[in-house]
Symmetry: C2
Subunit: 468 residues, 2 copies
């Protein structure tokens, strides 16, 4: 057995830092979408693990030879697929600091700084993005880092389930027919959550949308009334600010009014778009949020913080904790029993948790609020630029509004043509786009999100797409 000494760690660490820096320098040299065939990576790996340890150099070399060809380059300036999962220098180093400390933040006592920095930085984020005061930790609310918006939706649904059953479901299981609502454009994680939480996907209502793909409050109310009349128990609405297909924005104010009138939990999922609210001129996207019970957005999508980092807020933290807390003997400690501290294990599905607030703290301090605003504004401007290209071309059309960094568009010649364009540009290795379906029509999505993307990349993407 051969633990690295601190000096060996230093030497290997410098090499690893150099490798990452060099990777970031070479980003544009690689095909954006990996072109390996299924099984091609595994075929290069030894069938059995090494019996004796190997030098660090051998691992680094395999990283170049074996791993890199199988990477789809999410940080490339030519990555326009899905939503971004952007990272940054300070985020990477914050993750390194967290791994170096190697602490478990499940309880306040197991590293008070991990809990307190998280609570604090999430209050910072609330201030930066203009969230209603009720989500701040100095009132009854508070924020926590979840791994993903999927988990945030699940946690919100569990809290809603308990509220709708007067705290019985945790004990008795699901005995009434609880109902969840999201729009036809809601994320697939809502369906996953109704399955996991035991409601069943038959109990999910997909509410129709208007011409901007936003949820229609009148349709929501009609569904809730119909369900109540049938003896079902409407429990939660998951509204979306920035849907995955086209960044549509559900009208939070009217939806919140309906939730209050009928006693439903309102969870607002702004996974991608929430970062935009760091710009005062974009705060309108959260109008009506003061009526929500929970909210989340993902700094790991558009706020330069590497996965995983979903910022999840509740207005009533006591209810969340009652929903998720279990205290076995081996976790009892004085701080917990004093009631004066937050134990974040009671805010999430897993028990353990690493010190994820560090990377967010590094990012906010490195860029400052103005730096993050400039980053968001630049991407919105690049999306406008791309949309102008589409608009000016007789054979292409915009498919939806584009308030953020995503442009939905299509060739006028229909689905087959759009599928061909997608295959052609992705096979070129020069960029990576994905698609969706809007109004039953195949629609191309260009999502701008890499810190390195410039006018040059956007113009070149348009040339490639339109130049077929």
């Amino acid at each position: 057995m051969d633990h690295m000494t601190p000096d060996e760690f230093r030497q290997a660490g410098y090499r690893m830092i150099d490798w990452v820096a060099s990777y970031l320098e070479r980003l544009e040299e690689f095909p954006v979408l990996s072109s390996v065939q299924p099984g091609e990576i595994r075929a290069q790996l030894p069938p059995s693990p090494p019996l004796e340890g190997e030098p660090f150099e051998a691992v680094l070399s395999d990283l170049d030879e074996i791993v890199l060809p199988g990477i789809t380059h999410w940080q490339s300036p030519n990555f326009f697929a899905f939503f971004p999962a952007n990272a940054s220098g300070p985020a990477i180093l914050g993750e390194l600091a967290s791994a170096g400390l190697g602490v478990q933040g499940m309880l306040w006592a197991t590293s008070p700084a991990a809990t307190e920095l998280e609570t604090h930085v999430l209050d910072w984020l609330a201030e930066m993005t203009g969230l209603p005061d009720r989500f701040r930790s100095d009132g009854d609310g508070g924020g926590v880092i979840q791994d993903s918006a999927s988990s945030a939706t699940l946690v919100a649904m569990l809290a809603a389930r308990e509220r709708s059953t007067d705290g019985r479901a945790n004990r008795t299981g699901i005995t009434s027919r609880l109902v969840a609502y999201t729009s036809t454009q809601g994320h697939s994680s809502v369906e996953k959550a109704v399955r996991i939480a035991g409601l069943g996907s038959d109990q999910l209502r997909l509410v129709p949308v208007d011409e901007t793909y936003a949820m229609r409050p009148d349709a929501l109310e009609a569904r809730i009334r119909a369900d109540r009349e049938r003896g079902e128990v409407p429990s939660i609405v998951v509204a979306t600010v920035g849907t995955t297909s086209s960044t549509a924005i559900d009208p939070l104010g009217p939806i919140a009014d309906i939730c209050h009138r009928y006693g439903l939990w309102l969870h607002v999922d702004a996974a991608y778009a929430g970062t935009a609210a760091v710009c005062p001129e974009m705060r309108w996207i959260l109008d009506g949020l003061e009526g929500a019970d929970s909210y989340c957005f993902n700094p790991h999508k558009w706020m330069l913080t590497n996965f995983d980092c979903d910022a999840f807020y509740v207005a009533d933290r006591a209810h969340l904790i009652e929903t998720l807390s279990i205290l076995p003997e081996y976790l009892r400690n004085q701080a917990t029993e004093s009631g004066t501290v937050i134990d974040y294990r009671d805010w999430q599905i897993p028990l353990g948790r690493r010190f994820r607030a560090l990377k967010l703290w590094f990012v906010i301090r490195h860029y400052g609020v103005e730096g993050i605003r400039a980053h968001v504004r630049r991407h919105i401007g690049l999306a406008d630029r791309f949309a102008d290209h589409v608009d000016a071309h007789p054979e292409f059309e915009l498919a939806a509004p584009h308030p953020f960094g995503l442009v939905c568009f299509r060739h006028v010649d229909g689905d087959e043509m759009n599928r061909r364009i997608l295959e052609r540009v992705n096979a070129s290795g020069r960029l990576y786009l994905t698609h969706t379906v809007l109004d039953d029509r195949v629609t191309l999505r260009l999502a701008i999100g890499s810190p390195a993307t410039t006018e040059h990349h956007v113009d070149r993407a348009w040339e490639l797409i339109s130049g077929g």
Copy 2:
């Protein structure tokens, strides 16, 4: 806005590596358990985020001044609390590589190497720890990295729920009275999972244990029969290899026989102890595992790989995927539709996932199988050494068998005395212990797990504990 250039990243990165190396060198200088008061860390942080970016040096300096006093040092050789969450140089650098690449491994297509390396390294782990072939990916099974054993238990319970309802629960919700079983010593995450999955904690049966705190198969069978007679539907048994309180080992063979006879899913949670099976002489702890449907252990506990890294295996991956898969249009792609690849999003609760296999690969290659064996054997030897100290002292007694790195013991003068010892040693800052309750008696737990712990630290711990 000021992104770090690759050169700025290099310079800041070297500083961060130095900081981690220096932290590891200074580990023993800090009080193991942080002694800050609630709110003390937050009080030192500015109430609002900085408007303009700050130099990296300022962040590094706050890491020393503000964060470190609020850290409980999980990597300290004097950390004996809970179970270990040990890390290592190669694991930290693997995490850095993963953050630097910044890829999302939700689909095979979004980085084939992230998926294939994970499948491959989990087959390596299966070989290293002697798992039955049915858990390997070359048959019908396969492994995946979950964030924690809590999530593994939840995912297993969801798969069991579907099997017990012929695949209906996901759609209709829970309509029959499903029952879950674990021993009175099972982990709290089992109760959390029955709540989340909608069974309800009333539907969890805590099966009595024998004098070694292991589940009694006769008692399990009696409970299952009684439940069936009442019209309930026994669905899953969560057996434990290495319980949290005292590392008791449930008898897997007899439990598996019962599960087969009555049609229950058997999940085996070896979160802490599973690493020991890397040593051939410890493989007996998994006797009977060939009858299980799923299994997990945490390399992030005892296998030198920093959190999060739970290795979760199923014997029938098709069933797991059917349970968790949802395919919205925006995730459709050729590779997925070809059916020839693994999309790990369908093996877990969240959609997104980072490239966690890298750190495990770095660890296995750095240490080799023999290096990890030596690490485990050393800790088991140190636990024996500590147990000998306890045994030789007239006022202390061993409270349970100690097959791994955990020793459960107590002072013969009863609960108050043991609580006083715990408070005294933890307040000293020289070590950190936690407690449990066994047979209604307060019991001290000394868990050896830091790579840096030696005979010296164990002997000194004993002096401090016994020398009151």
